[in-house]
């Protein structure tokens, strides 16, 4: 779901995000009750047909799914050792169907549509104090900032390697500092872009800046 939307005009793309997510939840539940290889194989075939209907090129589907394969291999290998080949094959098929379908939802649904669907689903909970817009924003920002934090982690690793440190437990501290700075800047940006009153975040930022006053990189 890291914003890998593949644009096309197809019935799969046109399906509302809420419907796609509901189908994903329903299928995800059903495949874990399905105990026969033919049923799971047919499910996988149906998902493949949906990929064709959505006109997702094979290389795009592969690029999206490839990172999951090592985990799939690990799960199947563990199941072979614990429960034997038959159960391992069933588990592998279940995971494959679920991952393929989830990736199809990702490829055919804009993040904004997913966020709108989450907000719509949470709206009945508003009387209980749930703020759907805030939850939606958190979902969107999580998707946006996972790659940004990964970039920060890569930078910290590169800086440590440049200084001759290949592996260090001190990796997490600079990453945490960078992430907190990012969060601080992000709070400001949200205020500047019209989200929230700014009062609460200003107070928290004042304390962060007070800590930063000895920071030679922090321009005041």
């Amino acid at each position: 779901m890291l914003s890998l939307y593949h644009d096309a005009r197809t019935p799969v793309h046109a399906l509302p995000a809420g419907v796609k997510l509901s189908i994903l939840v329903a299928v995800g539940t059903a495949v874990f009750f399905a105990g026969s290889a033919p049923v799971l194989g047919a499910s996988l075939g149906a998902v493949a047909l949906l990929y064709a209907l959505a006109r997702v090129p094979a290389r795009v589907a592969w690029r999206q799914s490839a990172p999951v394969l090592p985990f799939l291999v690990l799960i199947v290998a563990t199941q072979v050792l614990i429960a034997g080949w038959v159960v391992a094959a069933l588990v592998g098929l279940r995971v494959l169907v679920l991952v393929a379908l989830a990736n199809l939802v990702t490829l055919t649904t804009r993040t904004s549509a997913v966020v709108a669907a989450v907000e719509a689903a949470l709206r009945p909970l508003r009387p209980l104090g749930v703020r759907p817009e805030r939850v939606g924003l958190v979902v969107a920002m999580t998707i946006r900032f996972i790659p940004v934090i990964k970039e920060q982690a890569d930078l910290v690793r590169a800086a440590q390697r440049a200084r001759g440190v290949e592996r260090s437990t001190a990796f997490l501290v600079p990453l945490l500092v960078r992430t907190l700075r990012l969060a601080d800047g992000l709070g400001e940006a949200l205020d500047a872009r019209g989200v929230g009153s700014g009062e609460r975040s200003r107070r928290s930022r004042a304390s962060v800046r007070a800590v930063r006053t000895s920071d030679p990189q922090g321009d005041q």
Binding site: M141, A189, R193, T213, Q220
Partner: protein, 225 residues
């Protein structure tokens, strides 16, 4: 007009700005100063991201302490690092985000997004993940996301610091072409050469205020002194 009267600000026990009295009436105002001179705090005071510890900041008569939300709608802010400013996963979604939070009618948003994408040469990146844009494209997106909400004033906090020469020139051209009043905080003296006014900060105080040539001369004298 943006007015500051008797403005001071401190973080903890440390004063980072003192005794700032300015009325920003010119269309393009530059703010320069060394690291730690208080210029970034000054920039954040202008749209109420920070409220002053003492004194008042008013935008069109609105006090940033009392009417912060309205002030931020009038004063757009472009951050030095676009990665903190872009909050949505894709280019078009980020442009739509600001509009949604400025209460622009839903039906108008797609058209405004399309126009901003075209104006900033980002149309082909409409559904592109923001984290995969180049540094220059990210900065252009950050500027576009502010401009699309049609603010009366725009504050730029070192908009070219993280850019290469080519992207810097693109951003400079965009800033030069803006109809709004702009306040640009920058170390980049070339960027400010044809501004209407430049203000120099040092140790939290305004030490020079005049034409860019005068201000740059004062700044360079300060650095060499």
């Amino acid at each position: 007009m943006i007015e500051l009267s008797g403005v001071g600000h401190r973080f903890g026990d440390r004063w980072v700005l003192r005794g700032v009295d300015l009325a920003l009436t010119e269309r393009r105002v530059a703010v320069i100063g060394a690291n730690g001179s208080g210029k970034s705090t000054f920039a954040r005071l202008l749209n109420g991201l920070i409220v002053p510890t003492e004194g008042r900041v008013r935008v069109d008569g609105l006090d940033t302490r009392k009417r912060g939300r309205e002030v931020r709608r009038r004063v757009g802010f472009v951050f030095q690092d676009p990665d903190v400013q872009i909050v949505m996963p894709t280019v078009a979604e980020d442009l739509a985000f600001g509009l949604k939070h400025h209460d622009v009618p839903k039906v108008s948003i797609p058209g405004l997004v399309d126009r901003a994408l075209a104006d900033f040469g980002l149309a082909e990146y409409r559904d592109h993940p923001a984290h995969l844009l180049s540094g220059g494209q990210k900065q252009l997106l950050a500027i576009a996301a502010v401009l699309v909400t049609d603010p009366a004033y725009i504050v730029f906090d070192e908009p070219t610091t993280l850019l290469d020469l080519r992207n810097k020139r693109r951003v400079v051209a965009v800033v030069a072409g803006l109809a709004q009043q702009v306040v640009v905080v920058s170390h980049d003296l070339d960027l400010l050469a044809d501004f209407d006014r430049a203000v120099v900060f040092d140790e939290g105080r305004v030490v020079a205020d005049g034409t860019p040539a005068e201000a740059v001369a004062a700044y360079l004298a300060l650095l060499s002194g």
